[in-house]
Symmetry: C2
Subunit: 360 residues, 2 copies
């Protein structure tokens, strides 16, 4: 089995066939022609003004609350650096996005995972911790098509979370990169829409246009936004306006909406195939959320069943992420299956290989 | 006096008329056409491979020692985060680049300034500190056309510094963004050329192509490079390949060399005018290095003469940086004059205004 034939369920990357290369070329040319002097000069650390103004209008906030940077992860890192002390604590869903866990870990703050039980946040566990006197500064969440589980948080849980954040005075950090990638069913309101004053919203165009643009953003309360902006300026002066202007031009031409439509057509059959193959191969042997969108399905293997090790994966022609990265503790029985960059055929074959690697 | 007429000696920015917009447009189009799938996908944290390979050849190091990112300042911030503890100490020229001082200050390390006396590093002071037992981890320097003084370090001082770094086991961090912008005279060897094993070299294309590309790089010993790479990946996955590919294409077409030639023609008369006007207006009232290149001339005002405050600057139609930012302590009698973004006429008028603001 050569590397060429390995089916990779590793990172959550979009497929290259989804990149609107020609259109981005056109946008690059247009913005350089129209606004080259501004784009090629140093800029403001908060980001390219037209994009920030557009985002401010979208999220009904002031421009000063919008920070655009080199991906949303870096903005989260900056927020952590300006606002967290080692004596603070942060709550996270467990499992959660591994890179975010790494960033919070570096801050030296106390991290508390609140379990996702088959995709449902264990609100009783959360209340127990709060009742016991724990006072997080932030609760980081991905309410829509969660990474790595695929879960969507029900409306009641969203409302309960906001109520608790108000009672106990913590901010919800809502990470929304997959929110617009819904292939079936109806969207629920974002936490940010329900309670903008309690929510820091972050997202990016990596999954909606292309990761290579490195354009992400964060909507923050004014004081925190100013702290992040100043720290960003002191650290990297500004992120590239060129990339931000390309994204803005793409949006203004109506191409983001069109692109989203195409992505949904591309990803919908992939998700459907993954779910039907899982049903055939893993029924009774694992539990999983059946998401209606996003990038991931997360498998919780049944008691006593473990994730195949690297050697077994290689033998089966598979590559998986190390799932322990998604958990503060544990993760040995969890498998994340990113499905967007694999064809339906590869997904079928991949799930079969996973099944063989585990059960044969 | 309206804002429109204010002459700004504030940041070291290139003039917009220096930006090769059309050529960058062509490069953007070419690289997206040729390599769009790669540029628009997630990439390696160390940077776009062809640019790294080219830099590795230029600096005669392995590709693994080259990290390309969103400006060299951010790479320095990352180096500081991965390698400095509060108990460490760092030496810097005094005065030095204010943004770098901010980054080192944040690390909580002990900072020691080694005075630049009329552009000459006070080597006796340095040896005294070393003899007293101080052991810096890094000595950050800008040997060529220093920011903010304009000084070029003589060869003997370079050799002495390397000798001391070898004896006492510290790294020299050589920041070289202005090195290629020499308008008169002959270049001296870079510290990195003299002793690559003791020097971390950093530079960027902000001053050689355009700041808006946000492409900087760092050459490090292999172990430190790997630490920076891993930390960068955990923080921002990768900096934009698109921008790095544009810079690379620009270089490959021979346009960097051409651009440098044009920049020198543009900046040479600006420097010459600034120096002759200073001679006419400040002789006997200040001392300054007479640089043969770069972006800055730094004035040390004579004893008892102070930098005009903001109100006096405004009244005179001037804007200056707060020079205290360039010093660990002091800076009240220092004025940095960035000259590249002002025409010879503006420079003449600006120096006259500065003179009037101080002496009338």
């Amino acid at each position: 089995m050569t590397d060429n034939h390995i089916i990779a369920f590793t990172r959550g990357v979009p497929p290259i066939e989804s990149f609107p290369i020609k259109r981005l070329e056109e946008c690059a040319q247009t913005v350089l022609e129209r606004d080259g002097n501004c784009l090629l000069q140093y800029g403001q650390a908060a980001g390219y003004v037209p994009l920030r103004e557009w985002l401010a209008a979208q999220y009904a906030v002031s421009k000063g609350q919008v920070i655009v940077g080199q991906g949303s992860l870096q903005l989260l890192d900056t927020l952590v650096r300006v606002s967290l002390q080692p004596q603070d604590s942060v709550f996270l869903e467990q499992p959660t996005y591994d890179r975010v866990l790494t960033i919070f870990r570096r801050s030296g703050t106390q991290l508390e995972g609140i379990d996702l039980q088959n995709g449902l946040l264990d609100v009783a566990q959360l209340e127990e911790k709060l009742n016991a006197g724990m006072r997080p500064r932030y609760f980081y969440l991905i309410p829509d098509f969660q990474n790595p589980s695929g879960a969507v948080m029900p409306l009641e849980a969203r409302q309960k979370l906001i109520e608790l954040s108000q009672t106990y005075g913590f901010y919800l950090i809502e990470d929304g990169p997959y929110r617009d990638l819904r292939y079936h069913g109806q969207a629920l309101p974002a936490l940010f829409e329900l309670a903008p004053e309690r929510v820091i919203f972050m997202s990016s165009y990596s999954k909606l246009i292309s990761p290579g643009l490195r354009v992400g953003f964060m909507i923050l309360p004014p004081e925190l936004a100013e702290m992040v902006r100043k720290f960003a300026e002191d650290t990297y002066i500004n992120a590239s306006y060129l990339n931000q202007a390309i994204a803005y031009e793409f949006i203004q031409r109506g191409w983001l909406a069109e692109n989203l439509g195409q992505l949904k057509e591309l990803y919908r059959p992939r998700l459907d195939t993954l779910l039907s193959t899982l049903e055939a191969e893993f029924s009774g042997r694992a539990e999983w959320v059946k998401p209606e969108g996003g990038f991931f399905v997360g498998l919780n293997l049944a008691q006593g069943i473990c994730v195949p090790d690297r050697t077994a994966q290689q033998k089966a022609g598979l590559a998986l992420s190390d799932s322990r990265g998604f958990f503060i503790d544990g993760g040995e029985q969890f498998v994340r299956l990113p499905f967007c960059a694999l064809t339906p055929e590869q997904l079928e074959e991949g799930v079969r290989r996973l099944s063989r690697a585990i059960f044969s």
